[in-house]
């Protein structure tokens, strides 16, 4: 069924780093700072690609596999996500299950790479990552179940295509509960406040960032780029449900989609500016809230 369009993939690959840039710019403005330039993430990636690498002498080939597998699995997962008026590059019955497990594959290798350094800090981050993702997975799958039940489709692209403005008129409770659940999962899987603070400087309190402490140069570039892609992937699904307006022209629809992505990024920045991160013990509880929300979406 590879009859879709490469446009969503190309947009994701080129614009994904912008999301993080918009988020940090929003946070800076709220805090009264000027903030970084919008193109800064691209410059960072470029700079990292120019560098050599330092590897921990404890580490093995597993450590070097980590960034590669993570990026590869995300690149493939993005092929199943539609954007704006364009269909996803590929689709098959049950593809969202595959997408979720591709991300799990990346996580497996990121965690293994963290443990490969033998650092207790990275072990700690790895431990937290697997703990919280165990709670995030059921929430993600139940949200998919709610969407599948509402639309009657079994593949990501048709599911999102079946949700239009009319759907919002008839099934607003289902869709809003699902979106709320997905946003919690989006914040958790992308290591944002209130789950994790990507800008903190204390290793002891980090989750995701601490796992990649020992990566450098091109490896770090792959990790940063992969993180941007993962955020884009979740955001594109949320935007697909939340902003389903269709004008008839696919390019106009794409612009609507981009505007919605921008809004989501600004909203994420506002969330990050307005709350502190949760205590680690509270995090599973918030993820349980996501599970309950998606179960509610199924009950409507």
């Amino acid at each position: 069924m590879i009859a879709g369009s490469t446009i969503p993939l190309i947009i994701a690959l080129t614009l994904a780093p912008l999301m993080q840039s918009v988020i940090s710019r929003t946070k800076a403005i709220v805090a009264g700072r000027a903030g970084q330039q919008i193109a800064q993430p691209y410059r960072d990636l470029w700079k990292l690609l120019q560098k050599g690498a330092v590897y921990s002498d404890t580490s093995t080939w597993i450590f070097r596999m980590g960034p590669v597998v993570t990026l590869a699995s995300l690149l493939l997962a993005l092929a199943f996500v539609p954007f704006g008026g364009f269909h996803s590059l590929a689709a098959f019955s049950g593809d969202f299950i595959f997408v979720a497990y591709l991300m799990a594959l990346g996580r497996f290798f990121t965690v293994a790479a963290a443990l490969d350094t033998g650092s207790s800090f990275e072990g700690m981050g790895a431990s937290r990552e697997v703990t919280f993702s165990s709670f995030a997975e059921p929430a993600l799958f139940l949200s998919f179940a709610a969407l599948v039940r509402y639309t009657g489709r079994l593949s990501l692209d048709p599911v999102l295509a079946a949700i239009g403005p009319r759907a919002w008129a008839s099934a607003a409770p289902v869709l809003s509960a699902t979106i709320a659940a997905l946003i919690i999962v989006y914040l958790s899987e992308n290591a944002r406040i209130p789950f994790d603070d990507p800008t903190t400087h204390l290793e002891l309190t980090m989750i995701h960032e601490v796992m990649v402490l020992d990566h450098s140069g091109p490896d770090l570039a792959m990790i940063e780029y992969g993180a941007a892609l993962r955020m884009w992937l979740f955001a594109a699904i949320i935007v697909g449900i939340a902003a389903p307006w269709r004008s008839g022209n696919r390019w106009v629809d794409t612009l609507i989609g981009l505007a919605a992505m921008l809004t989501l990024a600004v909203a994420t920045g506002l969330i990050e500016s307005s709350m502190a991160r949760l205590r680690l013990l509270r995090i599973p509880q918030l993820l349980l809230v996501a599970i309950v929300l998606s179960a509610l979406a199924l009950a409507f």
Partner: protein, 657 residues
């Protein structure tokens, strides 16, 4: 059939020869392993022939035993279960030739070879038997031969305890089966499988089958023997028991389902509940374990849970008339039977390599083995990713089918039957997340980082006989991950047989499911290519630049030691804490005390909840209740003769009157 009869003869010859050559050094091993390997090779041809679509074959010979006939049938269902049995048994036998060598001089190694041949023969007979008496005899032989294999190291107290638990559990299960077969045969007066049928009360029979076969399969709460017996047995035996022997329970359940007439929705519901509780509790208890083989044993409970869940979803599909749900559910469960045999066999053999090389199975004692045992580590990594259900490996394919069946039921019906489906989806997701946590722990702590003690420091890679089987199984995991569609489409006759659906429907639905799986195969091949390309790109980028090594960053402290690494217990702690109510881990902590503190110590131990809270009180109560009968047992022969005479007299009077 002739090929299979010949394999029985080879197993017999292998068994006897290994005892005959008991005093001839390695000859005994060669004879024992030769019997198993040749027997399996000989048997695999007729089996593959039937799987490829040849008609079922039967052999029926009269037998003097009341109601017994020597009736063997090789049909698609039997053939499907025989493939993993032959594969794992022959690989385990090859493995054993090297693994058992360390015991030479300390212990007799002929008996394990004798019993391995008997075990393989009896497992084959269980699958082929088409008569209840023959089935039960094979079933008991299987239980007893594996009991003697579990208690190989009987000089250890824990091993004897484990063997005892296993024996009691097995026989309790058999008692239920005995009643079930008598009820099934009552109607037609024959115990041949062709004539077993239900006159009424299929629900009771289903419940009896569920308990009787559930003990062998390891459904929670009947799993208590599993985490005891599997670690106690030699590793190649654990591999056979966990990978294929417990699957005879699943086989039995499926076989009995074909006698019971139309499937009812509540059977599916019960299986879903059992599957979810086995799956989730299995992986949670696995997370809390410190012994690698005990961890793997609990994962068998988890995977049996996934299989039961697939069967439950399938049965609900059949009973609500959703043919795709039925087909995908059963196909997922059956494929998981095969997949679990591959990756669990692999992981147990690798666990054997580790304990062989380091003399410990304590995860927290190990570390850094990847540099010292690269082949073991790589195959273990493949097994770990496969059991966590990750693409591009086989575990994902079977779990995907069960997910797909559940999602399909949600789309197709509006009835209450979607509730178990939602439970199955979220349960599978939770199991997937926890399994990933558990296997990153097992792989990461054992193979990565720095060695935590001297044994791990001086570990050496094992020899070819112990590595070869793992390599074969690892490639099996990759192949099914890429070409699972082929296996799924070959399941058609088998699924028709079990579900009783129309052949055309099954073919259509299998083609549809196979279509998705073929896509997954193609896309996972893309992942592999992408990984290779990205790795190549990085190599090119770095080829012109400075690449150096340095100590691991430890926040400015540049001299990290192996003892400072995160341990398996601390890695799993956030999750075990979250589920502390279920796990009830016992912890003892002697903290740092005083101005000049001594050593601080921390121990944690997670016992089996059901063993402590359910079976121990239960058996205790039964023991007390029947203590009143103790005066009957005086130990005098004369008294027992009197008992016999009295019983005979009473029976005689009853018969006359």
């Amino acid at each position: 059939m002739a090929g299979l009869l010949f394999s029985f003869i080879l197993f017999g010859v292998g068994a006897v020869a290994s005892l005959v050559f008991a005093r001839r050094g390695r000859w005994s091993s060669f004879a024992g392993a030769g019997g198993v390997i040749l027997g399996c090779t000989c048997g695999i041809f007729p089996v593959l022939h039937v799987v490829m679509g040849a008609p079922p074959q039967s052999l029926r010979v009269a037998w003097d035993v009341p109601y017994g006939t020597l009736y063997l049938t090789l049909d698609p269902l039997a053939a499907f279960f025989l493939i993993p049995i032959f594969l794992i048994a022959s690989l385990a036998a090859l493995y054993g030739t090297e693994y058992l060598e360390v015991y030479r001089g300390r212990k007799e190694i002929a008996p394990p070879w004798f019993f391995l041949n008997i075990l393989t023969a009896s497992m084959t007979a269980v699958i082929l038997a088409h008569n209840a008496i023959l089935f039960l005899m094979a079933w008991e032989t299987m239980a007893l031969s594996s009991f003697f294999l579990v208690t190989f190291e009987d000089e250890k107290e824990t091993t004897r305890q484990a063997g005892w638990t296993y024996l009691v559990a097995s026989h309790t299960g058999t008692a239920f089966l005995l009643v079930m077969f008598i009820l099934l045969g009552r109607h037609n007066g024959s115990l041949d499988f062709d004539h077993l049928s239900v006159s009424s009360g299929s629900g009771i029979l289903f419940a009896l089958a569920l308990v009787g076969f559930g003990v062998k399969a390891g459904f929670i709460p009947l799993h208590v023997w599993l985490p005891e017996a599997h670690p106690a047995a030699p590793s190649h035996i654990s591999a056979i028991m966990s990978a294929v022997m417990i699957k005879t329970g699943i086989y039995g359940l499926l076989r009995v389902l074909t006698f019971l007439g139309p499937m009812q929705a509540w059977w599916g519901l019960v299986l879903c509940v059992i599957g979810l509780s086995s799956g989730i509790l299995g992986v949670l208890f696995a997370l809390a374990q410190h012994d690698l083989k005990r961890l793997l044993a609990y994962h068998s409970v988890e995977n049996i849970g996934i299989i039961a869940l697939g069967l439950g979803v399938g049965i609900i599909g059949v009973s609500t008339g959703q043919s795709f749900v039925a087909v995908a559910g059963f196909a997922g469960a059956l494929l998981h039977v095969l997949n679990h045999a591959l990756f669990k066999g692999l992981l147990f053999l690798d666990a054997g390599n580790i304990s062989h090389a380091t003399h410990t199975r304590e995860i927290d004692q190990l570390g850094g083995l990847l540099r010292r045992m690269p082949a073991t580590a790589t195959t273990f990594l493949i097994g770990a990713a496969a059991i966590s259900g990750l693409p591009p490996l086989n575990g994902f394919v079977s779990e995907f089918l069960i997910y797909l069946a559940s999602f399909r039921q949600i789309v197709s019906t509006q009835t209450s039957s979607i509730v178990p489906m939602l439970a199955s989806i979220s349960g599978l997701a939770l199991i997937g997340g926890l399994a990933l946590a558990c296997f990153t722990k097992a792989f990461g702590i054992v193979f990565l980082g720095q060695p935590r003690n001297e044994c791990a420091e001086h570990a050496r890679e094992v020899g070819f006989a112990m590595l070869g089987p793992a390599l074969v199984l690892a490639s099996g995991c990759v192949l099914i991950g890429l070409f699972g569609a082929v296996v799924v489409e070959a399941m058609k006759p088998l699924i028709c047989n079990v579900t009783g659906l129309m052949s055309a429907d099954v073919e259509r639905d299998l083609a549809e499911a196979g279509n998705s799986i073929a896509r997954i195969g193609a896309f996972t091949a893309c992942v592999i290519v992408l990984v290779a390309l990205l790795a190549l790109a990085r190599t090119r980028l770095l080829s012109l630049r400075k690449v150096s090594t340095a100590p691991t960053w430890d926040c400015g402290y540049a001299n990290p030691s192996a003892r400072m690494q995160y341990t398996a217990s601390s890695f799993a702690n956030p999750l075990t804490e979250s589920f502390a109510m279920l796990l009830q881990t016992r912890e003892t902590l002697t903290g740092v005390q005083g101005l000049f503190p001594d050593k601080a110590e921390f121990h944690s131990h997670t016992d089996d909840l059901f063993r402590n809270r359910l079976f121990e009180p239960l058996f205790h109560t039964i023991g007390r209740a029947i203590a009143v009968l103790r005066p009957l047992q005086q130990g005098r022969v004369q008294l027992y003769v009197l008992y016999i005479a009295v019983v005979l007299l009473v029976l005689l009077l009853w018969q006359i009157g």
